[in-house]
């Protein structure tokens, strides 16, 4: 495991709630062009391998990996698709470099969710066809169940969840890539239309179109290509089960996040995550998820996240800034591209390129993505600007 790997290029298309002017190919071309330019203006011909992350039903295309190569400049190159969150795609790219067979690997993901008439229907198709789907419930009922159980077990409150929304959407106001920036009040969230109580409309992140391409390179190449590499210190991913009745620790916790983080911290040689990680961009698909994930990622003890949030600990000026970019609640939800959005925002902070949202003196950040309901799969990545 001697080979170290760094992020050497970052590019994204403009994120928008709809993108009727561009095809997904044209959108990805924009992100890829920016990424390759960011990496010193390389031509994709000099990239060894490519990894995309996608799911067929989101695109309305079977075997959607067919359409990956052209807009990445990857024709006749090693290309594979991961049916997973783009952080799993990033992990696959990292492994490829660590084998020694590849030196430079691009990883990409996009969302064109605006082209899909009913995301909820597709999400429902991910539940068990024999004993969940026939219930014909809106799939967000699972989030309602999880949230209720989490609040019950952790003694976190409904209001604390609402404060996650307030924080993240406020943070988004100063991030030019974020779309859902707003000053919302506690009442806005708690009095919003219920979806699956206690989950309300404002607890759910809004959908977004966009493409992200991130370029990874081996240590040797990274030092040649860029003056500000961001090192991938650790990565871990884990799957519990999408079966609601078989999760090892029930619906209140996020065991997948704990297992993923354990592996990432071990690889990054992090003994005390609270002390060694400066900031985090972690999944907040639903408001309660940020609190639940913070605890599972060992950023605080179980049941502490809500109180720490109220104390301002996770604000940009707090001890552990969380989702300074606005997170999914503030920046928007990019489906399988979520993970790369979190890595992008983390890496920009570590490069000192986060603009108005820039945190001072940060060295190590954590990115964590969850695949959304009904899954129990998450991926954690530890990034640092120090080798």
């Amino acid at each position: 495991m001697s080979k170290r790997v760094a992020i050497v290029g970052i590019g994204c298309s403009g994120f928008r709630t709809t993108s009727t002017d561009l095809s997904y190919r044209e959108m990805i071309f924009e992100a890829a062009t920016k990424c390759y330019e960011d990496a010193g203006g390389i031509h994709p011909q000099s990239i060894d391998s490519f990894v995309a992350s996608s799911e067929d039903f989101m695109e309305g295309i079977s075997i959607a990996d067919e359409y990956v190569p052209d807009q990445l400049g990857a024709v006749l190159k090693p290309v594979q698709s991961i049916a997973g969150d783009s952080l799993q795609g990033l992990a696959s790219a990292l492994m490829q470099i660590k084998t020694g067979q590849q030196s430079i690997v691009a990883t990409s993901a996009f969302s064109k969710v605006s082209n899909l008439s009913h995301y909820e229907k597709v999400a429902a198709y991910a539940t068990d066809p024999a004993y969940i789907r026939p219930l014909k419930e809106h799939p967000y009922f699972i989030a309602g169940l999880e949230m209720n159980r989490y609040l019950h077990e952790s003694f976190s409150t409904r209001e604390q969840c609402a404060r996650v929304v307030m924080k993240n959407r406020y943070n988004a106001l100063s991030n030019p890539r974020a779309v859902y920036g707003a000053k919302v009040t506690l009442e806005d969230v708690t009095c919003a239309e219920p979806v699956s109580e206690p989950l309300g409309q404002f607890d759910i992140s809004g959908h977004l179109d966009g493409a992200i391409v991130i370029l990874l390179a081996s240590e040797e190449k990274a030092l040649e290509m860029t003056a500000n590499p961001v090192w991938i210190k650790g990565v871990g991913w884990a799957t519990d089960t999408p079966n609601l009745d078989s999760r090892r620790e029930g619906l209140g916790g996020a065991l997948y996040a704990k297992l993923a983080a354990d592996k990432a911290y071990e690889m990054a040689n992090i003994k005390s995550p609270v002390n060694e990680i400066d900031f985090a961009e972690i999944d907040d698909t639903f408001s309660y998820k940020e609190l639940q994930h913070l605890e599972a990622l060992q950023m605080c003890g179980f049941g502490e996240a809500g109180k720490l949030l109220e104390m301002g600990c996770f604000e940009p000026g707090g001890d552990l800034p969380v989702n300074v970019s606005g997170g999914s609640l503030g920046a928007g939800y990019l489906h399988e591209a979520n993970g790369l959005q979190k890595v992008m925002e983390t890496a920009l902070q570590l490069r000192g390129e986060a603009g108005k949202n820039q945190l001072a003196g940060v060295e190590t950040g954590l990115a964590f993505a969850w695949r959304g309901i009904p899954t129990a799969t998450g991926t954690a990545v530890v990034l640092s600007n120090r080798l």
Binding site: M1, F50, E55, D56, F57, G60, I61, S62, I63, D65, E66, Y67, V68, P69, D70, A74, V75, L76, K77, P78, V79, Q80, S81, I82, A83, G84, Q88, A91, S92, L94, M95, K98, T99, Q101, V122, A123, Y125, A126, D128, P129, A130, G236, W237, A238, T239, D240, T241, P242, N243, S246, R248, L255, L259, K263, M267, R371, P374, T375, A376, T377
Partner: protein, 385 residues
């Protein structure tokens, strides 16, 4: 580069319609593979699994659904897909897990249950075509194979009879495979007289629709040597995806496979594949594809493959046995599982455990390949003992 070996393998039977659910099929193959090398799930560090289009099962995020059937419960589990090439590619994906140094033991599992799709799995292939410029023509999957087969035959003056020889060879081999869904030998005449589906493709030129699963266990060198005295090493891996504008390239030659094979051979240090390799498992969803792929794999000179086939060069007892498993034509085609089935075949053949199917002469080096998407992707794995 860290050495990685295959140490265990398991298959289900391939059948037209299975009683088991996708998860249960995955479980059967996974358990058999674990038992074959005396491991339990606790010994497994991670799961690399694969399945081609979700539409067959009508399950979104099918990898998540399959995870516990594949032994992925509470483990790092990651699903890869490259269309029809997924099976062999899942082994490449598993190799990434172990060769990277991040994991010591990886389970590779592929499953496909095509019978879930009603009325016929083929209907779901409409959605592989370009949504705007091609789907309006109501294409079906057979079109593209027929177009490629016709171009290939035209280029070298091959006849339908020539192509049928490959079907006969593979189906005969498959009769000896315990997973095979076929019982009867066929002749060239049977192929020629079978229903014309999309000229030049007749029904017996095509592999069947199947349900099935397959699994192998990969281990890093020291672990592999501890687990077995006959590890089968992954010597080389390669994969390539060509342009999605498939109608803009000449279909007579699989240039994507040419590149993927060269990548794998370079890693394996193979300079003369046609002389050094003892067993070939080219991807054969259609009979012509076996021959087309032998050329792309650099195992047969372009345009000379039929001649070599006629001379017995590719028979089980020939110089370079082609699809001794029976391939997709002879065993069945549960898409991703069929690719892993080819890797299983190399594993058993190189260990001398292929029973009646055993290739004579103590084979040392084998290659397996799979192909898919819009005739544009190939994955190649070279194994050796």
């Amino acid at each position: 580069m860290r050495k990685v070996a295959i140490v265990g393998a398991g298959l289900t039977k391939f059948v037209r319609r299975a009683l088991e659910t996708p998860k249960e099929l995955s479980f059967e193959a996974t358990k058999t593979a674990l038992d074959s090398c005396g491991l339990s799930l606790d010994d497994i560090d991670c799961v690399a699994h694969g399945s081609a289009p979700d539409a067959f099962d009508g399950i979104h995020q099918k990898g998540e659904y399959l995870a516990d059937g594949c032994g992925g419960w509470n483990k790092p589990t990651m699903r890869v897909y490259v269309g029809g090439a997924t099976g062999v590619h899942a082994v490449v994906h598993g190799w990434h897990h172990v060769a990277s140094g991040m994991f010591d033991i990886c389970l590779v599992v592929c499953e496909e249950k095509m019978s879930n799709a009603m009325p016929h799995a083929q209907g779901f292939f409409l959605t592989i075509f370009d949504a705007i410029t091609e789907r309006a023509l109501h294409p079906n999957l057979l079109w593209i194979f027929a177009l490629e087969m016709n171009r290939y035959m035209e280029r070298y003056g091959y006849t339908k009879e020539d192509m049928a020889l490959a079907a006969v060879n593979n189906k005969r081999n498959g009769l000896l495979h315990p997973s095979s869904q076929f019982k009867d030998e066929i002749t060239v005449e049977d192929v020629l007289n079978s229903e014309t589906m999309a000229y030049p493709v007749s029904r017996l030129d095509v592999s069947p629709v199947s349900d099935g699963a397959a699994a192998v266990v990969l281990a890093a060198e020291p672990v592999a040597r501890r687990l077995t005295d006959k590890p089968v090493w992954i010597e080389g891996v390669g994969w390539t995806l060509d342009t999605a504008y498939w109608a803009t390239r000449d279909l007579y030659y699989p240039r994507y496979l040419d590149k993927a094979a060269r990548m794998a051979y370079e890693m394996a240090g193979i300079r003369e594949p046609d002389k050094q390799i003892n067993i070939a498992e080219p991807y054969d969803p259609f009979d012509y594809k076996a021959l087309h792929h032998m050329e792309g794999l650099q195992l047969s000179p372009r345009g000379k493959t039929v001649e070599l086939l006629r001379d017995g060069h590719f028979a089980r007892d020939g110089n370079l046995p082609m699809c001794p498993s029976g391939g997709l034509l002879g065993v069945g085609n549960p898409i991703a599982a069929a690719g892993v089935m080819k890797i299983c075949e190399l594993f058993w053949q190189l260990r001398g455990e292929a029973g009646e199917r055993q290739v004579p002469g103590d084979p040392r080096l084998g290659v397996a390949q799979a192909w898919g998407d819009l005739m544009q992707v190939s994955s190649v794995v070279v194994t050796g003992i």
